[in-house]
Symmetry: none
Subunit: 220 residues, 2 copies
Amino acid sequence: MDLLLIEDDGMLGQAVEIGLSERQFSVQWVRTGAAAISESQRAPYDAVVLDLGLPDLDGSRVLSALRKKGQLMPVLVLTARDDSSETVKLLDLGADDYMVKPFDMNELAARLRALVRRQRGQASAELVVGPIRLDEVNFQVLVDEQRINLSRREFELLRALMTSPGRVHSRDKLEQVVFRNEQQVESNALEVHVHNLRKKLGNKEWIQTIRGVGYRLACK
Amino acid sequence: MDLLLIEDDGMLGQAVEIGLSERQFSVQWVRTGAAAISESQRAPYDAVVLDLGLPDLDGSRVLSALRKKGQLMPVLVLTARDDSSETVKLLDLGADDYMVKPFDMNELAARLRALVRRQRGQASAELVVGPIRLDEVNFQVLVDEQRINLSRREFELLRALMTSPGRVHSRDKLEQVVFRNEQQVESNALEVHVHNLRKKLGNKEWIQTIRGVGYRLACK
DNA sequence: ATAAAGACTTAAGGAAAACTTAAATTGATC
DNA sequence: GATCAATTTAAGTTTTCCTTAAGTCTTTAT
């Protein structure tokens, strides 16, 4: 998915660019509102991540300029503090979602995915595989309509598997997703999480292990 | 997956329609080339199964007519006899695969699935030989649509054989592939793997041994 | 027909990968 | 700082797989 990132701060911009790239987004990063507007007309984007407090224009003006140019893609706003008056204003102007800094990269990715999915008419911001339903925005998982409680790692693991059910996900890929940038794990932590997740899902057949390779979510 | 079946023979048409329906395809069956062309424009199909020897148009003209109308979906041709000059002509005209009658329904289904998958860009990383489908990405092997479980060595062995079916693979080459860099084997390990693989494939004829040379995969 | 060579079959021992469990560590919350 | 949940480590267990080896069967050559 192609994203347009509008962020003037170098550190934060780089962090977001890398973080989203690692999560399978294709990110175009611009630093000014003016650049954002011209870039948005050069190529189609699936969504925009807009930081408030840009140097040349403030966020709300960038947003309304985008909309005036006929750009209808979803816009997620990053805001410094949880100031309801401002966020309400933004949502009125046509922002689709917002997050307060500092934010979690996984959550940002999840919300973006949900926005794009909704935009495409795929309504449910949910991944559904067989009797498993995973709500990426609310961090909820239902199995046979029963809510189950997953830890963060378990949730990430399940989400990764559910994004392409039936496909084998290599250990390496899964470790990248589950443990993110955090210190490299040199133990069997992944196996432990798989074990616990299987237990919580109730059916140990669902997550199949491909010896020497990784794991797969059985899609039936 | 939606298929357009072009077949004038009633018996055969019905057999194919039922056979493919049972295998989760949605089949639209037409009996003439003219009907095929109008039907192909009415709705989008994932693939076409085209029998040669239709009453109103011969197969190659139907095929080129389809392509002229901008229909890009994969086309699998059913042909009466294995006449290489004709099949070459068809492949030139834009057919994607062909099978000689009488054919095995499982193999037809397998080939269609492979075609559609390849069309969708979902990594044509699948080898299909007769009723055997080997998915190189997901480390999965199906025989007659039934999943079978192969160990790493068995999988490598089968993959090697399937990359050029019908050709003889020397013992040495196979050992290189199966045992990779690992220590040279000075036992009959390869034979044991061949034996186990044959057992798992269910048909011991598939893998033929060429005494003093090696093995060959031949299943039809 | 018989011997020799090559291939097949089977079973056992050991190694590698994955599973399971529990304890130690971390991190957040009050 | 105490507590609780989440996470990682570590160690023991189980499972699966691979190799070896020995015996049997098949083919080929004499």
